[in-house]
Symmetry: C2
């Protein structure tokens, strides 16, 4: 059995979707970030980073979205969530997921998590970071639209974990004041994803 | 044949080391960041992100360090650069590499690349970001020392791509005003890596 720790509104949605698509046996533990549950002594024993997602397996805990997505794809190969038999195509999935975690998620985090990089009382710098988020997110999605998302899925006709992760991060655009309609392939991708029963099931849990 | 694009002093060192450890057949193209060669029209056709590393294969170009490290490990399995037969252990490698790219490299980038997240003429915010880098890098390496690096290698006795990437990022600590001696396991890891002939060979190319 797997135990999955998540919080609504976070990138943990991507891993949650992967577990659902994989039809993996898993329990969930929902953390309340408003109550800072991710910083509780109990949770820090699960994940010393104090972040989500975290997946507790019978061999230990795994964190970091790209690692979790590949672990789930490999552990439940019948779900065909990654091109495990093709190093180059798998490389394209990992390239996409790595860009989302190291560039796009980081851009977004400058809106609400700026104290990671400047002092907490530096309101001027925090505001400056926040102000540029609509531009950095739009620039990133411009690259995704024109260069990275083949359509209808990230890899073209083949569905993969990159689609779960893209859907997760694209869901932040509206809150970041970026109109997804500027990116027709991304907008179409969001609609397709929203139409899938696994997505609807997990979104209900996150929105409850 | 593979063609590898890199620049000295960047995270491309990790992928360069992987190619060398894998005994892969590859050519190199060295970019001069001082002359902004990564922004040239010629290079943007190779990698529209305008960054390094990039690896041109006979099926197309791959970017992003974690993706490249796994691609090389899978393409040259005899080099045993990743536990490809063990999804959990491979997950630990990917977790480590993902943390380096999405958190530690990003912390470091706030010293010299702050204009990614605030306006280029906002000297006050750029200085505020730069000022916190020694703390954020030390915090990250404290977690690596205490929780993530088993020693002597990241996975314990088993060498992997995580060691190449850790060596690359740990090499930035001195310039970020963090004394690596605060982290005995990391310092020992750097010494072991520096003693390896593949590392010496690649460092000579980067320092030339």
């Amino acid at each position: 059995m797997l135990t999955f720790y998540y919080a609504p509104g976070t990138c943990a949605l991507a891993t949650h979707l992967a577990l659902e698509y994989a039809e993996a046996p898993y329990d969930t533990v929902r953390l309340d970030f408003k109550q800072q549950q991710q910083r509780s002594a109990e949770y820090l024993r699960v994940n010393p980073k104090g972040r989500v997602p975290a997946l507790v397996t019978d061999r230990g805990t795994l964190t970091e979205t790209p690692a979790l997505l590949q672990f789930i794809a490999e552990s439940f190969p019948q779900a065909k969530l990654a091109p495990l038999d093709d190093p180059f195509l798998l490389g394209k999935v990992n390239e996409f997921n790595s860009y989302l975690c190291s560039t796009v998620h980081v851009n977004h985090a400058h809106k609400g998590r700026g104290t990671r990089w400047v002092e907490a009382d530096d309101e001027s710098s925090l505001a400056a970071m926040k102000k540029k988020v609509p531009q950095t997110m739009a620039d990133a999605f411009d690259l995704i639209e024109k260069q990275m998302l083949q359509g209808p899925w990230v890899l073209g006709e083949r569905f993969s974990t990159a689609d779960l992760y893209l859907f997760t991060i694209a869901g932040w655009l509206e809150g970041d004041q970026v109109d997804v309609k500027r990116f027709p392939k991304v907008a179409d991708h969001m609609q397709r994803m929203n139409a899938q029963p696994q997505v609807q099931k997990v979104l209900v849990a996150h929105q409850a």
